[in-house]
Amino acid sequence: MSGLKIVVLAKQVPDTRNVGKDAMTPEGTVNRAALPAIFNPEDLNALEQALRLKDQNPGSTVSILTMGPGRAADVIREGLYRGADNGYLLSDRAFAGADTLATSYALATAIKKIGTPDLIIGGRQAIDGDTAQVGPQVAEKLGLTQITYAEEILECGNGKIKVKRHIDGGVETVEGPLPIVITVNGSAAPCRPRNAKLVMKYKRAMAPMEMPKEGLPYAEEYAKKEYLTITQWSVADVDGDLTQCGLAGSPTKVKNVENIVFQAKESKSLSASDEDIDGLMKELLANHTIG
């Protein structure tokens, strides 16, 4: 077999799991600068499934596709350090403000430009939105079917893929045709660590927009080693329709955003003394709240 062509959808996200006190500005907006940018956790689970397929099918290629500003190239480098073959950074001001539909449009056009792969794998959802919409929407835009909530890819070959997936209250094993879109759960196998040799190989890999205009250090290396320059595409590069990108291509609009403030209730404060606890229990029993 000639190997599989796999594209991994990855997103750089603010680490919303570790939100500190300074994560919100006094005005009640999100202070993105206070949150570290990380590789979306479930996308790492997806990368692992892709790399396992590559291990099992010699000759396969794994490409990382991400959309974001220049620093989002971090997720491509992180992917290269763990065994991906190359990466594509989709970056353009026109992509900004995209909802899930405009995002999936952009990703789908990029995938067409890459050439429809056998397999497109991403995390089930990103922790900054938790929508789980981009995977299925990319699938629909490419006319492919999908398997979401995947736990493990069991078999892949002869134009078919067998996947164990989560469903509400259980699990199922399904079989679908290639090409297909798969989204992977956070409970799937964790991603392998960085490989030291690959870190050495790719540590200077950069997208053109990250490079200084003049005085690029180690310029001769970039000339010699093509793999150190990460492919970077704009809307025009992927023949994108501007009306479907970014804010303009987003049917959903944010009407307003509120910082969460709980409404203070009238409450009774008690201590842990026998007296207080007995009093509370007596009250709850008397009005049949419990018992």
Partner: protein, 340 residues
């Protein structure tokens, strides 16, 4: 035309609770808009079984799609049903569960129809909207309200131009209420082949295991929930002891689940089960927004925490400042001595 549609999820021949909750909500929205409520049931051998489960919620029109291959659910056939039906019926709102199925199906349908979809809404309202950019005024849009950014903010989303306005809602977030047991709705048996091309049946379900939930958190009138403050797996024994006495179910916060104190299926909150018991006893739970989103509808909230400033205390009816090890045995002791 212009009606409110609810996609009903079906396991075998049983309509999921979340769908009935959405029918209840959908009925209210339809009343407010002065339109009809329509429901979609797609499965196999469901005709004659889903009508009585759904119509009493105030369904004016029930579309039944009954064919082999529609159960178990796979993405493409159900997408085709919704997309083709919506092209014909042009609904203004479509609701579905934020379940594995709803979150697989909703995005595909929205992508195909180029309509906006908001996931995991915690509240749905109807209201006006003025677009700040175009200056255009809209009456009666669906406000899709949801926590965002890891639950640190609440965003109101609208879809001014595209229809249907689509939203998913998690199980247990909305209330389920029969409108009229004898509600007379029209039943339409649709010809599946007209909606679903044969080429859609491409994914095969080879094996399937569905288990009933191990606990009954969703329906429990009293819940004793533990957080990181419980301290250990053994510490949860005290919660089980109290729960046994007062006939409660035991739940947990994400922090307690992540720390390995209890099983994942006990998690209450935005990413776990949403509950609305009569009494909620929060033991050592600080009250992350995600947790509160899943239990704030509880009748009486009792917070036991040694930190008097724990965020959960702001929504509690009774605040007991003390440790769980100290307070729970006293509650158990009093109950044993004084009940019955």
């Amino acid at each position: 035309m212009n009606n409110v549609f609810v996609y009903c999820e079906i396991e075998g021949t049983t309509v999921a609770d979340v769908s009935l909750e959405l029918l209840t909500k959908g009925r209210k929205l339809a009343n407010e808009l002065g339109v009809q409520l329509e429901a979609i049931c797609a499965g196999y051998e469901i005709t004659g079984k889903v009508e009585e489960q759904t119509l009493p919620y105030g369904v004016d029109k029930l579309h039944i799609f009954d064919a082999e291959g529609l159960f178990p659910y796979t993405s493409k056939p159900h997408t085709s049903i919704l997309v083709n039906l919506f092209k014909q019926e042009k609904p203004q709102i479509c609701l579905m569960g934020a379940t594995v199925i709803g979150r697989d199906l909703g995005p595909r349908v929205s992508s195909s129809l180029h309509s906006g979809l908001t996931a995991d809404c915690t509240s749905l309202e109807i209201g006006p909207h003025d677009d700040p950019k175009t200056g255009k005024h809209y009456d009666q849009l669906l406000y899709q309200i949801r926590p965002a950014f890891g639950g640190n903010i609440v965003a109101t989303i609208v879809n001014p131009e595209c229809r249907p306005q689509m939203a998913t809602v998690r199980d247990g977030v909305m209330k389920k209420e029969i409108l009229d047991p004898n509600y007379k709705g029209e039943v339409i048996i649709q010809d599946v082949a007209k909606f679903v091309p044969d080429t859609d049946y491409v994914v095969k379900v080879l094996e399937r295991h569905v288990e009933k939930a191990k606990n009954n958190l969703k329906g429990a009138p009293i819940i004793v929930a533990g957080g990181y403050g419980v301290g250990s797996k053994e510490g949860f024994n005290l919660l089980y002891d109290l729960a046994k006495e007062i006939h409660a179910e035991v739940g947990a916060s994400r922090a307690a689940v992540d720390a390995g104190f209890c099983d994942h299926d006990m998690q209450i909150g935005q990413t776990g089960v949403s509950v609305r018991p009569k009494v909620y006893i929060a033991c050592g739970i600080s009250g992350a927004i995600q947790h509160i989103a899943g239990m704030k509808e509880s009748g009486i909230i009792i917070s036991i925490n040694n930190d008097p400033n724990a965020p959960i205390n702001q929504i509690a009816d009774y605040i007991i400042t003390g440790t769980v090890e100290e307070v729970l045995p006293k509650m158990i002791k009093y109950y044993k001595q004084n009940s019955k």
